[in-house]
């Protein structure tokens, strides 16, 4: 909690400094900065709500360098357990908890997460730092990437790497037996973007993640061998994926986008993701987009809907449905408005973009969610 307060103070100070700096240098910097603000609301069939307010600020330095800052303040509400204390329903709800269970398990649980990210870019290289903080979880990450053009800028190849380290300190809980722990993630990627024709561009990427440390929910218990035992996942996970994205421009001022991703890890999960979207200029400055995504995965080798003994499978037990077979669908629609089309002469509006995005997600575990995003971007260019 103290960390969250400290982060809030740092973020506030950063924001004030940014505002002051931009105000002082307004005459020089007004034509080069970008400001963006986004509100995101997430609600799901389990009545979990997440409300996020994100702010982005980017400005260039002399010598082709640029700095971008991102801050996200997020409020997560996990509902109270809706069953009478002591009933079988309440026990089931508690054993699959994604929240600490204390004496007030029958009240809503609210937590706050702050996320700060800074990226410094210069020509074709960038370094970044990421920090995410909540009461029981602190994540940090440093990364670097670079890219290079080939064949008269028809082919771009980018490579990147990052290292993340997380500190996990589960809160006091009626039945949590997991102490403080940590997790590290080493990541590397290579992405190639190729222009195939004046209206077609292809992107292909390859990613590898090596994760070590605590990777299960410290608050969750699993029903096994007639009793409840703490969830336990392997400490090491190798994750890799490759993806293809194809964007095609059409003659009626629209574009079609296709994507495919193949994922595999050493826990036994293999997944396929197919996505497509249509983006259409409805009128000057107004773009409407429609999206569909299909996803399917196999289950982890140690996942079972029921465990006969407390030792599970090879010593591992999971109550996490993400480890099971599943399929999901997502439908989305969005509109983006460039205010320049409405007020070309206005000093502020002509630099402003507004957008609204809605998504409906549902999967084979009877889980569904609605995601609503609305945002504003101001480009001082």
């Amino acid at each position: 909690m103290q960390l969250t307060r400290r982060l809030g103070t740092i973020a506030l100070a950063t924001g004030l400094c940014a505002a002051t700096a931009s105000r002082c240098a307004a005459d020089e910097m007004l034509d080069t900065q970008t400001l963006g603000s986004l509100f995101r609301s997430f609600t799901d069939s389990g009545h979990v709500t997440v409300q996020s307010l994100m702010n982005d600020w980017a400005f260039p330095f002399a010598g082709q360098a640029a700095l971008s800052l991102h801050w996200n303040n997020e409020h997560v509400t996990i509902p109270a357990i809706a069953a009478a204390p002591g009933s079988a329903e309440a026990v089931d709800a508690i054993t699959t908890a994604s929240r600490p269970i204390t004496t007030n398990a029958f009240q809503d649980y609210v937590k706050v997460r702050n996320e700060i990210q800074g990226e410094l870019t210069r020509e074709h290289a960038a370094v970044d730092y990421y920090l995410s903080s909540e009461t029981d979880y602190l994540a940090q990450q440093v990364g670097a990437k670079t890219s290079r053009d080939f064949h008269d800028q028809r082919l771009n190849v980018a490579v990147g790497t990052s290292y993340g380290w997380d500190a996990i300190k589960p809160l006091a809980d009626a039945d949590t037996r997991t102490g403080s722990s940590g997790k590290t993630t080493v990541h590397a990627d290579a992405v190639a973007t190729q222009i195939l024709s004046p209206t077609t561009v292809l992107r292909w990427g390859l990613e590898v993640f090596l994760v070590d440390g605590l990777q299960h929910n410290p608050y969750r218990n699993v029903y096994a061998g007639g009793t409840h035992v703490p969830e336990r996942h392997p400490d090491h996970r190798q994750r890799r994926d490759t993806f293809l994205k194809l964007n095609q421009y059409l003659s009626n001022r629209s574009s079609l986008k296709f994507s495919y991703r193949l994922y595999n890890d050493n826990w036994g999960i293999t997944s396929h993701e197919l996505g497509t979207s249509v983006n259409q200029y409805v009128t000057h400055g107004l773009v409407a987009s429609y999206e569909y995504r299909y996803y399917t995965q196999t289950r982890a080798s140690f996942y079972r809907s029921e465990y006969l003994t407390t030792s599970g499978i090879d010593g591992y037990l999971s109550g996490d449905y993400r480890m099971n077979e599943l399929a999901s669908h997502l439908f989305g629609a969005s509109v983006q408005m460039d205010m320049k089309a409405l007020a070309p002469g206005h000093r502020l509006l002509s630099r402003t973009g507004l957008w609204l995005n809605w998504e409906r997600y549902f999967n084979s575990n009877n889980y569904s969610a609605n995601i609503l995003e609305t945002g504003v971007d101001i480009h001082f260019q």
């Binding site: 209206t199 993806f243 993400r322």
Partner: protein, 80 residues
């Protein structure tokens, strides 16, 4: 590394080589610089989509067993 893991790595490397070949062959018919106005349109941009993709990846990671697809590590916790 088990034989099964080795086979998976082999398939991955094969996919890498095949796609590299595809990209190399594709350069022959690529657009000249002066014919790229459609490719620069915001509705064709990968970059304009990047932030949205990163937010989506974070949401999907919390509800599905896989990750990736954006060309960068997500970071943060998987709690929500």
């Amino acid at each position: 590394m088990t034989p099964r893991d080795a086979a998976r790595c082999g398939r991955f490397a094969l996919a890498l080589a095949a796609l590299a070949a595809l990209l190399t062959l594709g350069t022959g018919c690529a657009a000249q610089a002066y014919r790229r106005e459609h490719l620069a349109d915001p509705i064709m941009s990968f970059k304009a989509q990047a932030k949205l993709d990163a937010r989506k990846m974070k949401s999907f990671e919390a509800r599905e067993g896989s990750t990736g697809g954006t060309g960068g590590a997500g970071g943060g916790c998987a709690c929500n």
